[in-house]
């Protein structure tokens, strides 16, 4: 049976009543011991009998055509084959469900996959891939930089409310600033990898992918086969951050080669390939125009952005996404302009939109607060609207003011001084704040939940755990609802033969897959209530014992065999009738070296309101990850392209600088207690991307507060700061 819910109205707060105590607890990951002992098998670790090894061949020109000369490598040791057919140009965009292959021999950017070289060993395959003779015919008109001479595709219908120009000119205070951010790479620890094997007409693909429901369709599309002939297994994933949303080139290449060869083929992307062939976050230019009256009330918000992508890619970074609902002001204007460049494709990277858009907005807010002579926290609080300023929708919940104020108290904000007023040796110290906001999303999702008479349970869904803690929270939800200890629940994930879930992306996984598990367990509760002779509302399940209607029976006595229920959640009208978002506030204290311009973050605090917190530990880890990502965004991370060729020159983790341990100080996380009744039957909201939104802006605002240098061009490497210091 299926317990189905379309989220059209507020649901009772069941998880406040159940009483097992499995929810909210800081529970460690059940799969943790497997991961630290190397026994959780990641895609690249599968070794199948008679498996051949593939290595992707990358294009060495920016634009044009190529012809591959297989004879140049045929006699090399271990040669198995070179395959060029059905190559995909880059990884698919998230939630596409399709992934058309490229016309053979076309090159659209330097580093694009053009073939896969297959050999008996990895070393041989790599040698063959590097030795393969390729004849290139470069084409004219390659574009590799976004600058003032670039042609842009403009948004056809940008939001334009009131009269921004007039409001700017009449305002008591206004700012008009241009912010730029560089491209970012997800840099997941586990590189993309696939092992493909065919059983007759059915391909079994072990991959590292975030959204199997979409991925199976994308793989079927690329291979030109029916989706029923695709099975994807992805039980363990070493980080995704958007880079594994869509099917990627190594999956298709491994499947093609394996089919031709009639033997399993493994293709693991080299880190350099990950940088080039997998979607990355676009660079952005953001023009921020803000105006306020003498009391610090916003009258105008303008957020216009310029960004880049490959021709034909549908994804655009929704840079202004949170600007639409975060602050008030009647006059509002937006605009999006996309330059089509011959460079690696842009796509979703953790918190697409907010991750960079909040940098522009929250720095501009800081600039305007200063111009108006108002404390940045007070300035933000004054501008939190009653309802969403453009759509007019009520917020499902909005604890931004509380996050800012509680956070300020905890962080010691009152000790903040002005630029260059706190000097410690060579270091200027300063504090900064930024608001966080991330739209909350519910997706359709299904799961099977089975309760056994011995008090154990099984959860099955094709949901993925990309390192976020999905195994933990799904087990906790089932345990809470079924009144058993979480250690009694087994969770099976990452297999397309299991019921289709939302997949991991957009911070919707816990809400969507979690609700499906909640519902499946709720269905089981209904059956148990019937057997006990009470109403489902009366039923109490705790520690394997059912109580209700003056009856108290152990599960074993109530059940003659396992009970399985499918849970099925669908978004409903609450998604449309409310502005749903998580909110929060980031605080940072930094030290800026007055000689070199080096910045070190001293401490950070994130005060977050994300509805009910399912697992205090995994939620905190998500926010930590966001704060650390904020450090990288603010200070170090930037993809550098060669201006002439679009070649990514820092395509490894030695030169693409993510924060290292020493860059990361004590990180504090504070959760504001909240239930969001409109979000889903568990009253939770997404947390993974919220923790990143605005984090970098708190740091750059702190840099300004420390030394008086406003960073307009991210990241704030020393060369952008020291020239402005004396």
């Amino acid at each position: 049976m299926t317990e189905h819910l379309k989220m059209d109205k507020v649901q009772p707060r069941m998880l406040d009543e159940t009483g097992q105590g499995a929810i909210h607890k800081p529970m460690t990951r059940p799969e943790g011991p497997l991961k630290v002992s190397g026994t959780a098998t990641y895609a690249a670790e599968w070794s199948l009998p008679n498996m051949a090894e593939g290595v992707m061949v990358r294009a060495a020109i920016t634009k044009g055509t190529c012809e591959i000369d297989e004879s140049s490598v045929k006699d090399m040791p271990g040669f198995v084959g070179i395959y060029t057919d059905r190559m995909v140009r880059n990884s698919a965009q998230g939630t596409m469900g399709t992934n058309p292959v490229q016309p053979e021999g076309e090159v659209h950017y330097l580093g694009q996959p053009i073939a896969v070289a297959v050999a008996e060993t990895l070393e041989q395959a790599r040698d063959i891939a590097q030795s393969l003779a390729v004849k290139y015919t470069p084409a004219d008109g390659a574009k590799t930089v976004m600058d003032d001479s670039t042609e842009f595709e403009d948004d056809d219908d940008p939001v334009d409310m009131g009269d921004l120009d007039k409001a700017m000119s009449e305002a008591a205070f206004s700012i008009d600033s241009l912010y730029t951010t560089k491209p970012h790479n997800s840099s997941a620890m586990e590189p993309h990898a696939a092992v493909a094997d065919w059983e007759g007409d059915r391909v079994i693909l072990r991959g590292s992918l975030q959204m199997l429901g979409f991925n199976k369709n994308e793989l079927a599309d690329s291979l030109g086969i029916d989706v029923s002939n695709v099975r994807i297994l992805s039980p363990y994933i070493g980080g995704g951050f958007g880079s594994k949303l869509g099917i990627s080139p190594e999956c298709v290449a491994a499947a093609v080669a394996s089919k031709k060869l009639g033997r399993p083929v493994r293709v693991v992307l080299h880190r350099n390939n990950v940088f080039e062939m997998i979607t990355l976050r676009t660079e952005t230019r953001q023009r921020m125009r803000l105006a306020c009256d003498a009391d610090g009330k916003l009258t105008a918000i303008g957020h216009e952005n310029w960004q880049t992508n490959l021709p034909g890619e549908s994804m655009a970074e929704p840079v202004d996404v949170a600007t639409h609902f975060l602050y008030g002001g009647e006059n509002r204007r937006y605009g999006q302009h996309i330059a089509r460049l011959n460079r690696s494709a842009s796509g979703a990277v953790r918190a697409p939109g907010e991750a960079v858009g909040q940098l522009g907005l929250e720095n501009a807010m800081d600039e305007l607060a200063e111009a108006a002579g108002i404390d940045p926290i007070e300035f933000r609080v004054r501008n939190i609207p009653e309802k969403s300023p453009e759509s007019g929708l009520p917020y499902s919940s909005n604890a931004l003011a509380q996050c800012l104020q509680e956070g300020a108290e905890m962080f010691g904000w009152s000790g903040r001084k002005g630029p260059k007023e706190r000097l410690e040796g060579e270091w200027y110290l300063g504090m900064g704040v930024a608001s966080a906001a991330r739209s909350n999303i519910l997706m359709e999702s299904r799961a099977n939940v089975t309760l056994n008479p011995d008090g154990t349970a099984l959860v099955q869904t094709d949901m993925t755990d990309i390192g976020t803690g999905t195994y933990s929270i799904l087990g906790q939800i089932a345990a809470e609802m079924l009144g058993i200890d979480p250690s009694k629940v087994t969770v099976e994930l990452g297999d397309t033969d299991l019921p289709e879930a939302s997949g991991s992306g957009g911070s919707w996984g816990a809400a969507s897959a979690g609700s499906s598990v909640f519902l499946g367990a709720k269905g089981i509760r209904t059956k148990l209530a019937e057997r006990l002779g009470c109403s489902p509302e009366e039923l109490r399940l705790q520690d394997g014992v059912a109580t209700g209607a003056n009856n108290r029976r152990p599960l074993a006595e109530l059940m003659d065999g396992p009970i399985t229920e499918e849970g099925h959640i669908e978004p409903g009208s609450t998604s449309n009738d409310f502005e749903q978002a998580g909110f929060g506030a980031h605080f940072a204290e930094v030290a800026v070296n007055k000689v070199t311009g080096e910045v070190r973050v001293r401490r950070m605090l994130a005060a977050m309101a994300a509805g009910r917190i399912l697992n205090a530990q995994t939620a905190r880890s998500q926010v930590w990850g966001g704060q650390i990502w904020g450090i990288g965004t603010a200070l170090t991370e930037e993809i550098q392209h060669d201006r002439r060729t679009g070649h990514i020159v820092n395509n490894d983790l030695a030169e693409y600088h993510i924060p290292v341990n020493l860059d990361v100080p004590d990180l504090d996380v504070h959760f504001v207690d909240e239930r969001d009744d409109q979000s889903n039957p568990m009253q939770i909201k997404g947390i993974g991307e919220l923790g990143l939104s605005g984090a970098g802006a708190a740091i750059t605002n702190a840099i300004y507060n420390a030394c008086g240098v406003r960073v307009y061009d991210y990241p704030a490497t020393p060369d952008k700061i020291f020239p402005h210091l004396d």
Binding site: R58, A60, P77, E123, R126, D127, Q130, E426, V595, T596, E598, R600, L635, T636, Q640, H641, D642, R643, R644, H647, V649, N650, N651, A654, E655, H657, P659, V660, N661, L662, D663, T717, P718, D719, F722, P723
Partner: protein
């Protein structure tokens, strides 16, 4: 990676006979081999040779070529008498890399120029005559001093910069010349027209040790400016040893990393300082000399003012000028 033969050398003569590429810690060479930037047919593993000791005599310290960066940084005498070296080592790479990286290998690590690492790109150092893609390309981390119009690569080592300030000499055993002690300026060759040649070593030549002269008088410091707190190569680094007596600078040794194709030392800078009373104005004069011939290439222009500022800050720290 190309297939290769592997020989484990048991004595220095065997290294010369084998005639292959020497491998020590492998932390640089193996990456270069995987990228097929270096494709030796034979690897000669020297890690069984007796070059693992740090020997102290009255007037010098002899560091065996196989002493790891971690061991050297932690050595009591080094920490006490040559702190600039210990600090430079600890500012380099990561704990894991330093455990593997050897003294000889560190001296011979190759540039981190991105185009050098990509075999599809022109690079005079990797493929002589193919051009220098960095000159007008992404050159943020590359050289402003000592470069040529053929190559602007930097030498990425921290350790070697401190050794340069300490007047280290490199002990080389070669088939033709026997054992030689080379200064670092004799050892490293500037790129000129042949950037593929980086040192005077010939095939089969073995670095057996590095000699440090008696501990210098004065205070020592190593300062590395980088994009993140750790695990990043220097944008600019300064190794400095300065002695002051009676209010005057009596000795000064300054070497720079991140600026040039080899650890950079300019006697002109030191001449400005020696015999003078330390002051901001004096440091400015010395900085003028340091960057007099500096040439930026766009992305790396910032290194010129940054080198000045960093050098002046280090001198202030060592002489107490505020």
């Amino acid at each position: 990676m190309k297939p290769f033969d592997y020989i484990r050398a048991t004595d220095p003569a065997a290294v010369q006979q084998a005639g292959g590429r020497i491998i020590a810690g492998g932390t640089n060479l193996l990456d270069l081999m995987k990228h097929q930037i270096e494709t030796p047919a034979t690897l000669v593993d020297v890690t069984r040779l007796e070059m693992t000791e740090i020997e102290q005599s009255e007037n010098s310290l002899r560091i065996g070529s196989l002493v790891t960066n971690s061991e050297l940084a932690a050595h009591e005498t080094v920490r006490r008498d040559y702190s600039v070296l210990s600090r430079a080592l600890l500012a380099g790479a990561t704990g894991q890399l330093r455990n593997k990286a050897t003294t000889g290998g560190n001296l011979l690590q190759r540039t981190r120029c991105p185009y050098f690492y990509d075999t599809t790109q022109p690079c005079n150092k990797r493929a002589p005559g193919s051009g220098c893609q960095a000159m007008e390309g992404a050159n943020r981390i590359l050289a402003i001093l000592g470069a040529s119009d053929k190559c602007i690569a930097t030498h990425p080592s921290d350790m070697a910069v401190a050794m340069r300030a300490l007047d280290a000499r490199i002990e080389v055993e070669s088939a033709t010349k026997g054992t030689e002690l080379l200064t670092m300026d004799e050892f490293y060759v500037l790129p000129g027209d042949n950037p593929e040649v980086e040192t005077v070593l010939q095939q089969g030549d073995l670095i057996t040790a590095v000699h440090l002269p008696a501990a210098p008088a004065g205070r020592q410091s190593y300062r590395k400016v980088r994009d993140r707190s750790s695990y990043a190569f220097a944008l600019v680094s300064v190794a400095a040893i300065v002695n002051t007596e009676g209010g005057k600078i009596t000795d000064a040794a300054l070497a720079f990393g991140g600026l040039a194709p080899r650890p950079w030392r300019d006697s002109g800078v030191e001449e400005v300082l020696i015999g003078e009373a330390p002051s901001e104005a004096l440091f400015d004069k010395a900085a003028d000399v340091l960057v007099a011939d500096a040439k930026g290439h766009g992305d790396n222009d910032f290194k010129i003012p940054l080198a000045r500022r960093t050098m002046k800050a280090v001198l202030s720290e060592l002489t107490g000028v505020s």
